[in-house]
């Protein structure tokens, strides 16, 4: 009950966004559908005329259909960039198969005597097509369009990955923020939309051809208007354009903070982390919400804008170790602290760059690094007890796990087992609490906001200062979970706003305040 109320509250609070996302969603679905019909219908007719082609064309459309949606969106980016264009093309490709196939089967299913009668009466090919074949194939054709529509409503949720908007913004924002109301605020309208459109199309299938003709004319006009609604807003304005992840959009220490603390007003699209950096590089976005040690920062020549009002909480990395493990492995703490302060932001960015972009293995990156800082020792090949290292499922954590593994093997007689790729924070932390791993690298901000979750007052008091944050989490972890935060490794992998280096120096924007002032002036 309570849950429902808050969902309702969320929806009414965010009704503006909800409305615009719904319109975007419908717009995306129908524009792509219109294009899919414009392409699929003639193709269907073509292969009904030249049956030999049907195998190839249906085959290709079938293969395209099996490409995972995310991958398809990914393929589109190098060609079409981000935003509505690639999303529409991707959706169109999904809608193609049912439309081609049903046009084809609809037409070849027509009694051949009827076509012969039409010919015998002197109808031309196009008269036969428009007066006989299409009307008679219409029920089957509509069934295809119906299938395509429902598919498109579903796939259109993914459009938010590439800044094309739609209800996916709430859904994926909700998932990354673990906010059920937000997920439902996107998922329920999307589901309703699918049911509604499916029902409407089912109704049109029951109409006879004359009424159907009117309905079709009316609905195409309606669709074109609706399409205009969707296309127009995205066509306005110049100025700088920001792309933020769905997660960043919904966070106090994200877009909300930018608005309240800095008063930043910038045209913003929602986009997935996977394509955001590339989009900034290719000048489709100017400002993005990245992570400060991401290798792509270096790969794409991006620059971090200084958070001069300190709204992004510090995410200093440090190994966190189960107290029981410290007792069991007395040498462990000292070995792990060997790395303390050794990796700065730029060093970490470089290491990430090596794995992500130069495709070096985490192992090689770890050795090179240790050799360079003079910490490398060849493994002792000890026969002691086994230490289990955990890591989350992204590049930086793999590298850290490798480095720790080498340090332990080089300096002690313990054996090492790495359990990399333990998913997100929750999984790693549970594994640690339950002694399934002995330690893993964690970030102070994550410890504060994702694990301890103190009330807002405490957060706003301490999160501006990295030392206070570290002190708070290490005290609380010790008290609550008997887990010890060792010394920080040095780098701060926090949220950051970034721009292309070149653009930043051209317009002389180095801090977020600079950015705000620049935007206000222009």
């Amino acid at each position: 009950m309570n849950e429902q109320q808050t969902l309702w509250q969320f929806m009414s609070m965010e009704s503006d966004k909800l409305l615009s996302q719904t319109v975007q969603h419908i717009g995306l679905t129908f524009i792509s559908l219109l294009f899919a019909i414009a392409i699929g219908l003639p193709l269907g007719i073509l292969i009904a005329r030249r049956r030999k082609l049907s195998g190839i064309i249906l085959g290709i459309a079938g293969v395209l259909q099996t490409v995972p949606s995310i991958a398809l969106l990914g393929f589109m980016i190098p060609i079409l960039g981000i935003g509505a264009k690639p999303a529409i093309v991707a959706l169109l490709i999904y809608a193609l198969l049912p439309i081609i196939r049903n046009t084809y089967t609809g037409i070849i299913g027509i009694d051949k005597h009827i076509i012969e009668a039409a010919k015998a009466m002197g109808m031309s090919k196009s008269q036969i097509l428009f007066k006989v074949e299409i009307p008679l194939a219409m029920p089957v054709l509509l069934a295809g369009i119906r299938t395509a529509t429902v598919i498109n409503v579903g796939v259109a949720t993914l459009a938010s990955y590439i800044a094309a908007g739609g209800l996916g913004e709430f859904i994926f924002g909700g998932i990354s923020l673990n906010n059920t109301n937000m997920i439902l605020a996107g998922a329920i309208p999307a589901a309703l939309l699918a049911i509604l459109l499916d029902g409407l199309l089912a109704l049109t299938q029951k109409l006879d051809f004359k009424k159907l003709k009117k309905v079709l004319i009316f609905s195409s006009v309606f669709l074109i208007i609706l399409t205009a609604f969707y296309v127009l807003p995205s066509a306005y304005g110049s100025g700088l354009k920001a792309g933020f992840t769905p997660e960043f959009m919904g966070r106090q220490d994200g877009d909300l903070g930018l608005k309240s603390a800095y008063g930043l007003k910038i045209k913003t699209v929602v986009i997935s982390d996977a394509v955001m950096y590339k989009a900034a590089f290719s000048k489709e976005l100017d400002v993005i919400s990245g992570y400060s040690t991401d290798g792509r920062l270096k790969a794409f020549g991006l620059k971090i804008l200084k958070d001069d009002k300190g709204i992004f909480p510090p995410y200093y990395a440090a190994p966190i170790v189960n107290q029981a493990s410290l007792n069991k492995f007395p040498e462990l703490e000292d070995v792990l602290n060997l790395l303390a302060g050794k990796i700065t932001d730029s060093v970490m960015t470089d290491l990430n760059y090596r794995t992500d972009y130069l495709h070096q293995t985490p192992e090689k990156v770890a050795i090179d690094f240790l050799v360079k800082v003079g910490l490398y020792k060849s493994p002792k090949g000890g026969a002691g007890e086994t230490i289990k290292i955990g890591s989350k499922i992204f590049g930086e954590q793999y590298i850290l796990a490798e480095i720790y593994s080498m340090l332990i093997k080089g300096n002690t007689n313990y054996k090492v087992e790495t359990k990399t790729g333990l998913g997100g924070t929750k999984i790693c932390f549970d594994a640690l609490v339950n002694n399934q791993i002995d330690f893993y690298p964690e970030y102070t901000g994550t410890g504060l906001l994702a694990i301890l979750k103190p009330d807002n007052k405490i957060v706003s008091q301490i999160s501006h200062n990295k030392d206070e944050t570290y002190k708070y989490v290490s005290d609380e972890f010790n008290k609550k979970y008997k887990i010890k935060w060792l010394k920080p490794i040095g780098f701060n992998n926090s949220y950051a706003l970034m721009m292309r280096q070149k653009q930043s120096s051209e317009i002389d924007v180095n801090t977020i305040t600079d950015l705000k002032n620049y935007l206000d002036k222009n």
Partner: protein
């Protein structure tokens, strides 16, 4: 008016129509007769180019159809299909109006013509707004005929126009059909595998077998002067009945006795079969006839049979 010269059509190795030649005169009804698969439909469809012949030429009104625009050609030829082939998504009215619509007649003219035909073909007036699947088979066949007749084409091709009907309905529709003024001014090629139907409706019959013409001639010629064994055997089953039906009182006029005392009688155009039926139905001993030169004759049942037999022997030895 329609002339086929050595027309052939092959499907792969199989020859469906083999060197067919015939000539249909204006307002004549030529019936293509033969067993299933003998190439009747194929021959007919070549006349409106639904099928293009591999060899030979077809000339309509002095023009080789190969040189004509197919759409214009077809709009000038009525076609009644073996499978009726009505448009299921059109009402009866719209089905009949297809060709006039293509010819861009004005609405009023189309409507008048559709009403005229529904009346002539005895289609119920309320059926115009119905869809084909709401009609009986016989009604559908009438609609098919109306559709072919609507623009009053000079040439009419009919492929088993009564094929989908039971025998009783078939016979009665055939009668109506024969009396339809509209049809009397058409040059027709009609396909059937029903011998009785062919004899009843044809001016001339083209008897086919395995794609070839076995004999072409009037019903009388086929009956009394079969060109070959096939032609003879083909008719043997129904020979006697056909003979009675095809020979008219006029034909046996000379063999009937003259009765100057009478001054009225039935037309001598009726067949011997019909005359015998009348005698039986009227329970009369004699019937009176008059021919077109105002002569009057009468005959009893026995006299009819006698005269008929004399006529038969005479024509065979001609």
């Amino acid at each position: 008016m329609i002339e086929l010269k050595n027309v052939s059509k092959k499907y792969g190795e199989a020859v469906a129509v083999n060197q067919v030649s015939f000539d249909v005169k204006e307002k004549e009804n030529l019936v293509l007769l033969g067993t299933s698969g003998c190439g009747k439909t194929t021959t007919l469809k070549m006349i409106n180019r639904l099928i293009n012949p591999d060899e030979g030429e077809i000339i309509i009104n002095g023009q080789n159809i190969i040189n004509q625009n197919t759409e214009i050609l077809r709009k000038g030829i009525g076609y009644v299909m073996q499978n009726i082939g009505l448009f299921p998504h059109y009402t009866v009215e719209e089905n009949i109006a297809i060709v006039p619509e293509l010819l861009k007649w004005d609405k009023k003219k189309i409507q008048d013509r559709v009403y005229e035909l529904t009346e002539k073909l005895h289609l119920p007036a309320n059926s115009l707004k119905l869809f084909p699947n709401e009609l009986s088979g016989g009604q559908q066949q009438r609609v098919g005929l109306a559709r072919a007749l609507v623009s009053d084409p000079a040439v009419l091709l009919m492929d088993e126009p009564f094929g989908a009907l039971d025998n009783v309905t078939r016979t009665s529709i055939r009668k109506e059909f024969k009396d339809l003024e509209e049809l009397k001014r058409k040059t027709m090629v009609m396909v059937t595998h029903d011998v009785e139907e062919a004899f009843e409706l044809a001016d001339r019959i083209c008897l086919m077998d395995k794609g070839q013409i076995m004999q072409i001639g009037t019903p009388k010629e086929l009956l009394f002067n079969p060109a070959n064994d096939f032609a003879k055997k083909f008719l043997d089953g129904q020979r006697l009945a056909l003979e009675f039906k095809i020979v008219t009182i006029e034909d046996i006029w000379e063999k009937l006795s003259n009765r100057s005392s009478i001054n009225k009688g039935l037309s001598a155009d009726i067949s011997v079969w019909d005359a015998m039926e009348k005698l039986r139905n009227n329970q009369a001993a004699e019937l009176q006839f008059s021919n077109n030169t105002q002569e009057y004759k009468s005959a009893s049942f026995d006299e009819l049979i006698k005269a008929f037999n004399q006529y038969k022997n005479f024509t065979k030895h001609e």
